[in-house]
C-alpha cells in the first residue's frame, strides 16, 4: 500500500515536471513572440509582398516589435498586410512612418521594417495605415543583370577582335607590340615623357615655393590679395588715373587745336612760324634792332661823360664801391 502511494507521488511529480516544461515552453514562446502583450493593429498595402507570411517579424529601428497578423488581397491585385505591433512601442512610430519588406539576414525569413517618421506627426493609432515602400525587386535586379550580361558579351566580342588585331600587329598599338624598332622609339618617347614629367614636377615645386613666398604676410601680392584697404586705395588710385587720363586727353585735344592753329598761315603765330618771308623780314628787323642797340649803347656811354648826367654816374659808382668795400 505504501509502495503504491510512493509510486503515485512519483508519477505525480513526473507528470508535474512534464507539464511544467510544456507550460514554461509555451510561456517563453508566447513572451518571445509577443503573443501575450497588448498590441495595436497597423496596416500597409504592398504591390508585392515577396513571400511574406503570417507570423513573420516586424522590426522598428532593428528591434522586433510585433508580427504579421493577416495577409489579404486588396483592390485589384495589391496585398494588405495587417500587423500586430506592441502598444508600448506605438508612441515611437509616427503616422508618416514607412513600411517596407526586407529579410532577416541574407537568406533569412521575410520581415517588415518600419522606418522614418518625424516628430512633427503624431504617434500611430489603432488601425492606422502606413505608407508602403516597395523593396528592391530581385526580378528587376536580374533583368538589369541580364542587360549587363548582354553588354559584357558585346564587350568581350569587341575585345576579341581588338586583341586579334593587336596580335596581328595592326594599328599603332599592334605595331608597337610587334615592331622592335617602333618599340624602342616608343620607349625613348616614354623616357622623354618621363624626363618632361620630372621637369614639370620640379617646375611645379618651384612654382609652389614661389606661390608660398607670394602668400607670405607683408608681401605686396599677398596684401593685394588679402588686404581690403589696399584694394580700396587701389580702386581710388585707378579712379584718379582715369580722371588724369581724361584730363590729359582733353589737354592733348587742346594742344592739337593750338598746334593746328599754329599751322594755320592766316594766324599771327602761324605766319611767324611758317612764312619764310616773314622770317626773313623778322631776321632783318632783329639785325637792325641789334645795330640800333649797339649804337644806343655807344650813345649812352657818350652820355655818361656828358653834362648834366656826369654827376649822377659818379655818385652811383661811389655807392657801388661802398657796397663792395663792406
Amino acid at each position: 500500500m505504501r509502495g503504491e502511494n510512493k509510486r503515485s507521488v512519483i508519477v505525480g511529480i513526473f507528470v508535474f515536471i512534464g507539464i511544467a516544461i510544456l507550460v514554461a515552453g509555451i510561456l517563453t514562446l508566447g513572451g518571445q513572440q509577443k503573443k501575450f502583450v497588448k498590441a495595436i493593429h497597423l496596416k500597409a498595402v504592398f504591390d508585392d509582398i515577396g513571400g511574406l507570411q503570417t507570423g513573420n517579424n516586424i522590426w522598428f529601428s532593428g528591434v522586433k516589435i510585433g508580427t504579421v497578423r493577416k495577409i489579404n488581397f486588396y483592390g485589384d491585385s495589391q496585398v494588405e498586410v495587417e500587423m500586430n505591433v506592441e502598444e508600448s512601442v506605438s508612441e515611437f512610430i509616427r503616422k508618416n512612418s514607412k513600411a517596407t519588406i526586407s529579410s532577416d539576414g541574407l537568406i533569412g525569413n521575410k520581415i517588415i521594417v518600419i522606418y522614418g517618421g518625424s516628430t512633427d506627426y503624431p504617434p500611430v493609432q489603432e488601425g492606422d495605415r502606413l505608407e508602403a515602400v516597395m523593396p528592391l525587386d530581385t526580378d528587376q535586379m536580374m533583368e538589369t543583370l541580364q542587360v549587363n550580361n548582354a553588354n559584357l558579351v558585346e564587350i568581350t566580342a569587341d575585345l576579341k577582335v581588338l586583341t586579334g588585331k593587336l596580335a596581328a600587329g595592326e594599328g599603332i598599338v599592334g605595331a608597337v607590340m610587334t615592331d622592335s624598332t617602333l618599340a624602342i622609339r616608343f620607349k625613348q618617347i616614354v623616357a622623354n615623357l618621363d624626363r618632361a614629367s620630372a621637369n614639370s614636377n620640379r617646375m611645379l615645386a618651384e612654382l609652389n615655393t614661389f606661390a608660398g613666398k607670394l602668400n607670405k604676410e607683408g608681401n605686396l601680392f599677398n596684401d593685394l590679395a588679402t588686404d581690403t584697404e589696399i584694394a580700396d586705395e587701389l580702386r581710388s588710385t585707378i579712379a584718379s588715373f582715369k580722371a588724369s587720363a581724361e584730363n590729359t586727353q582733353q589737354l592733348t585735344k587742346k594742344l592739337e587745336e593750338i598746334s593746328s592753329k599754329l599751322d594755320d598761315p592766316n594766324s599771327a603765330l602761324g605766319t611767324m612760324l611758317n612764312d619764310p618771308a616773314f622770317a626773313e623780314s623778322l631776321k632783318s628787323t632783329l639785325q637792325n634792332t641789334d645795330s640800333a642797340t649797339f649804337n644806343l649803347n655807344r650813345g649812352l656811354e657818350a652820355l655818361e661823360y656828358t653834362w648834366p648826367f656826369r654827376k649822377g654816374f659818379k655818385r652811383k659808382a661811389k655807392e657801388e664801391e661802398k657796397v663792395s668795400g663792406n
Binding site: F14, G18, I19, I21, G25, I26, G30, K35
Partner: protein
C-alpha cells in the same frame, strides 16, 4: 458439408482475407477500448501503476537517448552550416528538428521498443497462460484492467516523456554549441524559441498523444490476440514493436502533411 466447405473458401485469397480480418479485429479492439474507457469502474490505481512503469521507469533511457540525439545532431549539422558561415543558426535548426520531429519520434520509437514489447509480452503471456480467462471467470473485466489502463498510461506518459526528451536534447545541443560557438544559455534559448511556433509545440504534443495511444493499443492488441504458447508470446512482443514503429512513421508522415497544410493557411 457443402456449407462448411463454402465457409472455409477464401473470399479473395487466404492472405488478403487474413489481412482484412485482422484489420476488422483491430478496429473492433479500438472501438471496444473507447467503449470501455468511458464506462465505470475506473481502474485509477492500475493506471497510475502503469504510468509509473511506462513513464518513470522509461525516463532514464529516454533522457539519455534524447541527450545523445541533441549532441549528435548538433555535431552532424555543424559542418554543413559552417560551409556557408551559418553556425549561428545551429540553435534554430536544432530546436525546429527536436521540437517538430525528433523529440516525438525518438521518444515514441524508444517507447515502442521498451514499452510496446513489454506490454505485448506481458498480455501475451497472460493470454497463453489463461490468466485472462481466469480474470473473466472471477468477474474482473480483463480488457478494462489490462488494456484500458495500459493504453491510457501510454497515451498520457508519452507526451510527458516527449517534453523531457525535448528539454534534454536541447540541453545536450546547448552543451555542444556552448563548447564550440561559446553561445550563452540565454542566447541559445532565445534563438530556440525564436524559430519555433505554437503550432510546432501543439502539433508535437498532439502527435505524441497519438504515438502513445498507438504504442499502447498495438502492444495490447498483439498481446491480447497472441496464441501458440511461448512462441506466440515472443511473436506478439516482436510484432507489437514492429507494428508500432511502422504506424508511428505513417502517423508522422500524415501529421507532417496536416501541420504543413495548417501552417500554409
Amino acid at each position: 458439408m457443402a456449407e462448411e466447405s463454402e465457409d472455409k473458401k477464401p473470399l479473395l485469397s487466404k492472405k488478403i482475407d487474413k489481412f482484412f480480418t485482422g484489420l476488422a479485429d483491430a478496429w473492433n479492439f479500438v472501438r471496444r477500448f473507447f467503449q470501455e474507457v468511458l464506462l465505470p469502474p475506473y481502474e485509477f490505481k492500475e493506471v497510475i501503476h502503469q504510468c509509473y512503469r511506462i513513464g518513470v521507469e522509461s525516463l532514464p533511457l529516454i533522457s539519455l537517448t534524447g541527450f545523445i540525439v541533441g549532441i549528435v545532431f548538433t555535431n552532424q549539422s555543424r559542418p554543413s552550416l559552417s560551409e556557408f558561415g551559418a553556425t549561428s543558426w545551429l540553435p534554430a535548426l536544432i530546436s525546429i528538428a527536436v521540437v517538430r520531429a525528433m523529440g516525438p519520434l525518438v521518444t515514441a520509437l524508444i517507447a515502442a521498443g521498451k514499452v510496446g514489447s513489454s506490454i505485448g509480452a506481458e498480455i501475451g503471456s497472460m493470454k497463453v497462460t489463461e490468466q485472462i480467462d481466469a480474470m473473466e471467470v472471477s468477474a474482473t473485466n480483463p480488457f478494462k484492467f489490462l488494456v484500458v489502463t495500459r493504453v491510457l498510461a501510454t497515451t498520457f506518459m508519452i507526451p510527458m516523456l516527449v517534453m523531457y526528451t525535448d528539454f534534454v536534447a536541447l540541453m545536450g545541443s546547448f552543451i555542444n554549441v556552448n563548447k564550440n560557438e561559446l553561445v550563452s544559455l540565454s542566447t541559445f534559448f532565445v534563438q530556440v524559441f525564436d524559430s519555433i511556433t505554437f503550432l510546432d509545440v501543439f502539433s508535437s504534443v498532439i502527435k505524441s498523444v497519438v504515438f502513445g495511444f498507438t504504442i499502447g493499443i498495438v502492444g495490447c492488441y498483439k498481446g491480447y490476440n497472441s496464441s501458440k504458447g511461448t512462441e506466440g508470446v515472443g511473436r506478439a512482443a516482436n510484432s507489437a514493436v514492429v507494428m508500432s514503429m511502422f504506424l508511428i512513421f505513417i502517423e508522422e508522415l500524415l501529421a507532417l502533411q496536416i501541420v504543413n497544410a495548417i501552417r500554409g493557411m
